[in-house]
Symmetry: C2
Subunit: 246 residues, 2 copies
Amino acid sequence: MTNVAPSTEREIKAVLFDTFGSVVDWRSGLAREVAAFARAHRMDVDAEAFADAWRAKYEPSMEPIRNGNREFVPLDRLHLENLHAPLPEFGLDAANFDDRELGNLNAAWERLDPWQDSIAGLSELRQHVIVGPLSNANLALLLRMALRAKLPWTVIVGSDATRAYKPTRQAYQNMAWILRLDPGEVMLAAAHNRDLAFAQRAGLGTAFIPRPNEIGPRQTKDLTAEGDWDLVCASILDLAGRFAGT
Amino acid sequence: MTNVAPSTEREIKAVLFDTFGSVVDWRSGLAREVAAFARAHRMDVDAEAFADAWRAKYEPSMEPIRNGNREFVPLDRLHLENLHAPLPEFGLDAANFDDRELGNLNAAWERLDPWQDSIAGLSELRQHVIVGPLSNANLALLLRMALRAKLPWTVIVGSDATRAYKPTRQAYQNMAWILRLDPGEVMLAAAHNRDLAFAQRAGLGTAFIPRPNEIGPRQTKDLTAEGDWDLVCASILDLAGRFAGT
């Protein structure tokens, strides 16, 4: 007999990460690739502004798919469509570039660098639980990113397997189903309060990791945890430490 | 200028493996698990015969899905359905076991041991190309198998992502599409000539690895390569050696 109440804590078997912004630094990576593209074409482009304009199309481009008004297409295709949008704003004409060149620039999303703590944190965490992305990216993109950046995922399931874009409930629940885990056995780790709120509503555990420079020096959003998250961590390494004793 | 003709050899970027029989030894693994189940229930069962009877349902159970007469369901569910079939033949009544017990026996497919050369071979091969399964198993099964057996896959894509069972053309081609590779950049490695024949027709490269004891000492099939395969190897380690120089 024990007078300690049975733990109501869920046993987390997989910690899955929002990837763009939470594990890798999309903004400086895209800006670096845009700058290289501009140099190669002897053009003068504000690379950070271009990266922001490209990224600004990200959420709206998924919306028709979330709403059921467009059939599911993989994120790398949306990225390529979204790349065409800012070109004229920056005085560029898509007709001046061949498909291979634009495809290579589009692959900038596969060449993003991890935040400083990401690899050490994931390497430690994977000693304790299944570690993978829970991203809107498709597997082909996440695989190439992981190979280049040496992200030590246990497993990669892309949005092309769940066929759903966050923050729809299906995106979180299909992921748990594919891994044959209960939603409560899966934890989303993310730098975005909104993503965590939807994950929590879908039954997942939640961990917040701040990335206060994700969208540059003028970031005002997601500087701190704004919900009742299961864990609030300083970094992925800190998050891994919470599992080390279990 | 060179007088060497351009190589017509395809550049293989991923070597994907048939898994049951080619990478892991399903027969002795299933027999071991059936024997343990029988001991736990104080029953006398010919474990190898039971394993063979269970496996005998494997191909027929996928046939309605291949034909479009049944919606896709993951392989672990078919394995569980197939487990019910041989029970009466062996004098057993499913009603005597609870779902958890049968589910645990069904997970025998996740507890199969690699052939002696598999881990060393895959570890070497992954230094050169993407290495993964191209199996009829779903991701949840393949993931648990990989974690237990320490199979060093670069990436795991299950049949639940391709939503197609080999040897349909879609099973091979959807896999290449998900990886964003041309079929000719993907090689199937398998111990089964039939699987290789269908992969070749779908445009994949092919490598044969004999597993002369896969179905026990009386095996008469698949003892040697029976097609015009790109590679005929003695083992996965031998296969890895063919990529070491590239």
